[in-house]
């Protein structure tokens, strides 16, 4: 029985089609959708005139699970949202709960967190670059990108034993001290990494096919980007100079120098350039941080059983994909009353329809790639 207050759905397939128009279903099992994204495309010939994303294939009810776990027990779950940037998810959650408790991680923990999170940003962007280029037809960059990413995953593995779903941080600090040779490994990765980014650029930036496939594709103006709540490289590619690491610093970011790269045209090419430059900046942050990791404890004294005083907090970090926010409500017990996760991928994907209209089917693939979505995070 339909509720009279809800208007009939205006799906792309229920509205009347023009004589030349067809509906094409793409996904959820399509190699370029990076998981289980389903897009219904309304086409006029090869031109997209409308689209609708169908999501939720990977919905696991993470927010509901949170209400049935203690604060500590829930921490590993957040790694399963954006599984190519698990360290960032963990940082956001741990800091949000710390804010709720009124506690703060010790300086040493904050610096180590910053280093690992920046390495994770590089790893996430490398994975994005490899697969995005692959989608558009450039096979080569993938191998180089995964080669470098492997080095980062090795550092994670040495640090905490896991490569992907790392659960690297604990509420209040870190569980593990850095291993012997951690600084050396980070420096060894970062020192030549600048050259590696140059190599990727040599393969792509002035490549005519790459330019034809990315310039002017999926344009999002700065005004629209803000209106649609885009964040991360997507909003910066549109020319909005906004990065939460600078705007509302967390962890140890206020101690380091780095630039916020921005684009001009808000197209796929600009977002590509922004992400490449972000990798260089992350490298810079890592090198600054690893040069002087303060000595001291790695855990704050917060006790074993966490009972945050009743109240609520919204804490957002700059994850590789954009603003990752945690809105946590406490009722004073050991379990969160409500955990809301603001997923950057979901909200960046919302602008997809806006970006894809007027382009060809082949560009749809480029636009899905340039948004850098991870369906684990979109669906949660």
């Amino acid at each position: 029985m339909a509720d009279p207050r809800i208007p009939a759905p205006a799906n792309v397939e229920t509205t009347v089609l023009g004589a030349d128009e067809i509906i094409l279903n793409m996904g959820p099992q399509h190699p370029s959708t990076h998981g289980v994204l389903r897009v219904k495309l309304r086409l006029d010939g090869e031109k997209v005139v409308g689209s609708e994303c169908v999501i939720g294939y990977l919905h696991r009810g993470v927010e509901k699970i949170a209400e049935h776990r203690t604060y500590t027990q829930f921490a590993p779950y957040v790694d399963r949202m954006d599984y190519v940037a698990a360290v960032s998810n963990g940082l956001g959650y741990c800091e949000a709960v710390e804010k709720l408790l009124g506690a703060e991680a010790p300086p040493r923990a904050r610096v180590v967190r910053t280093i690992l999170t920046e390495l994770q940003r590089i790893a996430s962007h490398l994975f994005w670059l490899g697969t995005h280029a692959l989608d558009i037809g450039a096979l080569t960059p993938l191998f180089y990108c995964l080669r470098e990413r492997e080095e980062i995953l090795k550092i994670f593995e040495h640090y905490c034993g896991a490569r992907l779903t790392t659960h690297a941080f604990r509420i209040g600090g870190l569980q593990y001290e850095t291993y012997d040779g951690f600084e050396r490994d980070v420096v060894q990765f970062c020192e030549p990494f600048d050259k590696r980014v140059d190599d990727y650029e040599a393969l792509l930036t002035s490549n005519r096919i790459w330019l034809a496939r990315t310039k002017g594709i999926g344009v999002l103006s700065a005004k629209d980007a803000i209106d649609y709540g885009a964040s991360g490289p997507v909003i910066r590619g549109s020319g909005v100079k906004w990065d939460i690491r600078k705007a509302m610093p967390y962890a140890a970011y206020s101690d380091y120098e780095f630039e916020i790269p921005t684009g001009e045209n808000g197209d796929t090419f600009d977002r590509y350039m922004v992400r490449l430059e972000e990798m260089r900046q992350s490298r810079k942050i890592c090198l600054q941080a690893v040069a002087k990791i303060p000595a001291g404890p790695i855990m704050a004294r917060i006790g074993k059983v966490l009972k945050p005083p009743p109240g609520e907090v919204y804490h957002a970090i700059e994850a590789p994909k954009g603003e990752l926010g945690y809105y946590i409500v406490s009722d004073g017990t050991t379990q969160p009353y409500r955990v809301r996760i603001r997923p950057p991928s979901l909200i960046n994907l919302e602008a997809f329809d806006k970006m894809v209209r007027g382009h060809l089917i082949a560009d749809v693939v480029a636009i899905i790639g340039t948004l850098d979505i991870v369906l684990g995070e979109v669906d949660r």
Binding site: R5, P9, A10, G56, L101, A103, D227, Y314, D331
Partner: protein, 225 residues
């Protein structure tokens, strides 16, 4: 889709009756490990430092600043409550005025970025839902939280016309809580399939009850537990 009679499952576990974990003292005294000097036989007993009380933690505090004054002078009684929690400003506003307040926030207060829109369920309250809008201003680098109290029967004015982000976020809230947004262009479930029964993030949507019902219906056994 939103059949009210179907979604009222038996309230299996009312909130607040969560199984409490065994209550240990919140934190060991900070001084215990390093600060106490090695015990000397002559040391008087009274010299042992008293256990520091567990940190009280942050508390919500009333808020009355320029920002709330501007909202209050413009909307008067429609601004029901204002306070800060963990240094974050929160305004509770009247449901009927939400669309106007949203527009005012965008145009006059420059909260141009809707970071998040979600809801919280408090089933024992008269108006059980909080609809929560987390706003951000790019110009002022400032956050603000708007809240609306609402019953399941009442519809919340949609803010999609003010911030386009709200489109999917309101659909998600409808999907998970069954809250209806009036004026939303295409209100339907976002993550769950259309034929899904009930609203999972309501507190009376018990995971175990759902699981048992599914097992009974589909596997023909009493319980999968």
């Amino acid at each position: 889709m939103a059949n009210d009679s179907e979604e009222k499952q038996p309230a299996a576990t009312p909130p607040g009756e969560k199984p409490e974990a065994p209550a240990h003292p919140a934190s060991p005294p900070a001084a215990a490990a390093g600060a106490t000097p090695p015990a000397k036989p002559a040391a008087p007993v009274a010299a042992v430092p008293p256990k520091p009380a567990a940190p009280a933690g942050p508390k919500p505090a009333p808020l009355d600043n320029e920002l709330t004054k501007r909202y209050k002078s413009k909307f008067g009684d429609a601004i029901l409550e204002t306070w800060t929690d963990r240094n974050q400003a929160i305004l509770v506003v009247a449901r009927q005025k939400l669309a106007q307040i949203a527009r005012f926030s965008l145009k006059d207060e420059e909260f141009d970025y809707l970071a998040d829109l979600t809801a919280v369920d408090w089933p024992r309250r008269e108006k059980r839902f909080d609809v929560v809008l987390n706003l951000y201003s790019m110009k002022k680098n400032q956050r603000l939280r708007l809240k609306v109290h609402v019953t399941p029967e009442e519809a919340v004015p949609s803010v999609t016309a003010v911030w386009s982000t709200a489109n999917w976020l309101e659909r998600e809230v409808y999907d998970m809580f069954g809250i209806i947004f009036e004026g939303h262009p295409d209100l339907k479930r976002l993550l769950l399939p259309e034929e899904w029964q009930g609203y999972p993030l309501r507190k009376d949507y018990d995971i175990l009850t759902q699981d048992t019902a599914w097992v009974r219906e589909n596997l023909g056994i009493e319980s999968g537990q």
